[in-house]
Structure formats: C-alpha cells, structure tokens
Amino acid sequence: MTTDCADKRPRSGARHTTVLDLEGAELKLSLATLLGLVYLGSFLALAPPPPQAPRASAATTPSSKTASGTSSRAPRIRTRSS
C-alpha cells in the first residue's frame, strides 16, 4: 500500500484516523527494522573481522639478471624501514 505526503495530511476526522493507523503500521515496521539492524549491528561489532585475504602479486622482484650477472627468476627480498 502506498500513499503520498498529501494523502497523509489530515483534512477530516475519518481521514485523520486512517492516517494514524497507517503511521502506526509504519512505526511498527520501523521498530522491527530498527531492532533487526541493532541486532545485526551488535553481531557485526562483536564478530572479529577476518584477517585480510592474501592476494597473489609480483611484489618481490623476479629479476632476469642478478647482481652477479647470473640469470634467474629468483624472487628478491627488499629490506627497508617500515
């Protein structure tokens, strides 16, 4: 059931009652939704987030030529302050 803002404006007694019922229904819906969101929120807040999923990358350098001139595809490690 849909209604627009103009329909909700009370113009007579009967109309007023209908509108109040509608708003009551909407309020119940909103409460149920809010309770659901609060429950979901508390669950999410308590549940530990999973560790970040590792991803494959070419972060280490697969060099084609090493410092000594040896060709290789060996990964290199880079050390630095972090």
Partner: protein
C-alpha cells in the same frame, strides 16, 4: 608469484617458490592469521588489544601466556642491549605525537601533544612468573612495536616449508638456501633515495630487519619527529646513522638490534655487532656511505 596482505600497517609477503599457487595461498592464509592474532593482542593502537588493557589497568594485571612471554622476552632484550631497547617508551612516543597508527601527514600538528614524560625503565615493570601478573609503575606505557613485528615474523616462519620466506615490510625471515640454492637475494634500500638499492646481500637461513627515520616521520610545529625514541632522552633519536640493517638468526633479534644500532650510532653499533656471533649489519651514515659489519655477505662479492 608472491602472496601479500596488509598487517601491522605494512605489506606482508609470503614467498614459497616450491609450492603450487593453491598451496601457497593456503600457507598465506595461515601466516595472515598469525599476524592478525598478534596485532589483536599486542597493538597499542587498538583499544581492545590485551596490551592496551594492560596499559589502562590501574591494578596488577594477569596477562595471557602469550603477552607474558612477549614481556619476558622484552626484558631479556633490555638486558642484552644495556637498556637501549626499552618498551617503556610508549608514553614518550605519544608525547612526540605518535598517538595513532601512522599514515603520511596524519600525525602532523602545530603543538606538542604532551610534555616529555619522566624517565622510566622496563626493568621497573614487575613480572611475576608464578601468576603471570604484571605491575606497571604509574605513568608507564608499554609499547612492543620495537620487537613485535620481528617476533610475529619468526612465529609465522615456523609455518613455512624449507626454502620459503616471509617479509613483513622489510623484516624478513628467509628459510633455507633460497630458490637457487645460492642464498636469498636481499636488496637493502638506500635511505636517502628509496628508489635505489644501496647493496644486495646473500642471506641463507637467517633474518633481516632495517631501521631508519626516513618513513615514519611527522611534523610538530617546525620540528620533524620520527618513531625511533631514544630511551635515554625520551625523544626521537639523533644519530649519525641514516639506516641500520641487521642480519641475525631470527627476525625479532634482527629487529631489536637494528633499532639499537640506529639509536647508538655508527661507532657503538659497529663495536656491539662485531662482538656478537652470527650477526651482521649494513650501517648507512647520513652521508649515504654504507659500511658492512660482522657476518654479512654481499651478493656479488
């Protein structure tokens, strides 16, 4: 290929060339879980970590076996380094402006956060072995950032097969003789030009760690601060070194010794490293000149 993930505010890479991609991915998940657990327990930036609860506690605090073991090890490092490694620099780090997880420009501010705290010493923190109870002197804030990344890398490395590596933003454990059997190639970044490599090392079955003041820097007023606090002054260290890289049998050891080398400067660091068995270092001065000390092998030497 390498599997990577973010933890401890840095990029962590797992390199296992002998494994197929599916095996490497499974291994990486297990390694990520180790880092995640460590961060949850030991981070001073997470209010819910056990370390944060200890730092807030006003009463004797019963620590978990993991935290108590880390504190016990920290005390050993304090003794081994004559107090130059000291986890009670937590309050000094906050006073210097390092009061949240680092990101570029996030810590910049116009005025100091708080006055430099009074001297403290980790040996004044009471550790009761029988009950795992920890008692902090008033005002002392414990920060395990000086060793915990290395500690965690060592724990993660215990999951690795032979010839594999875990690299936590420059603190790396390199197992076995490397994928070619000639050692792992480790590029040491130039501290004055991050795009350059100052030297490439050959490392077999050891760990490396690097400390420098070129990345975690921020501005307080007109002054530049960094994260390496000298426990003698409670201030960001002033030293003739731009960077210290240490090679040792474990990442925690390398991590601690790299920080201590940076703090004490070239001459004292050279003397300390040369006396130690199984330890080497690359010390880079403010002039950009590198010096090899102790047991260290250059790749093309």
């Amino acid at each position: 290929m390498t599997a990577t993930f973010r933890a401890m505010n840095t990029e962590v890479a797992v390199v296992a060339p002998a494994l197929d991609p599916a095996e490497e991915a499974r291994l990486s998940y297990r390694v990520a879980a180790v880092f995640d657990a460590s961060e949850r327990r030991f981070s001073r930036f997470r209010p819910d970590s056990e370390l944060s609860r200890l730092n807030r506690s006003e009463r004797p605090f019963v620590a978990s076996p993991s935290l108590f073991a880390a504190l016990r090890r920290a005390r050993e490092w304090v003794n081994l380094t004559d107090g130059l490694f000291d986890p009670t620099v937590g309050a000094a780090l906050v006073a210097a402006g390092y009061d949240r997880s680092f990101a570029p420009a996030v810590l910049d501010r116009d005025a100091p956060v708080s006055p430099t705290p009074p001297p403290a010493c980790f040996l004044d923190v009471r550790l009761d072995e029988a009950t795992r109870t920890v008692v902090r002197p008033a005002g002392v804030q414990i920060d395990l950032g000086g060793c915990i990344k290395g500690f965690t890398a060592d724990r993660a490395a215990s999951l690795l097969p032979e010839d594999a590596a875990v690299d936590a933003g420059g603190d790396a454990v390199l197992r076995g003789p490397g994928p070619l059997g000639e050692g792992w190639m480790v590029d040491v970044e130039h501290p004055l030009d991050a795009g350059r490599t100052i030297v490439t090392l050959r490392v077999c079955d050891r760990a490396v760690a690097t400390s420098a003041d070129n990345r975690r820097r921020w501005r307080v007023g007109n002054r530049h601060c960094h994260h390496l606090i000298d426990p003698r002054t409670r201030q960001p260290a002033t030293t003739d070194l731009a960077q210290a890289t240490v090679i040792a049998e474990g990442a925690e050891r390398a991590d601690v010794l790299a920080k201590v080398a940076f703090l004490e400067g070239r001459r004292a660091a050279r003397a300390r490293i040369e006396k130690m068995s199984g330890v080497g270092a690359v010390l880079v001065g403010r002039d950009g000149k590198a010096e090899l000390v102790g047991e260290v092998e250059v790749w093309d030497a």
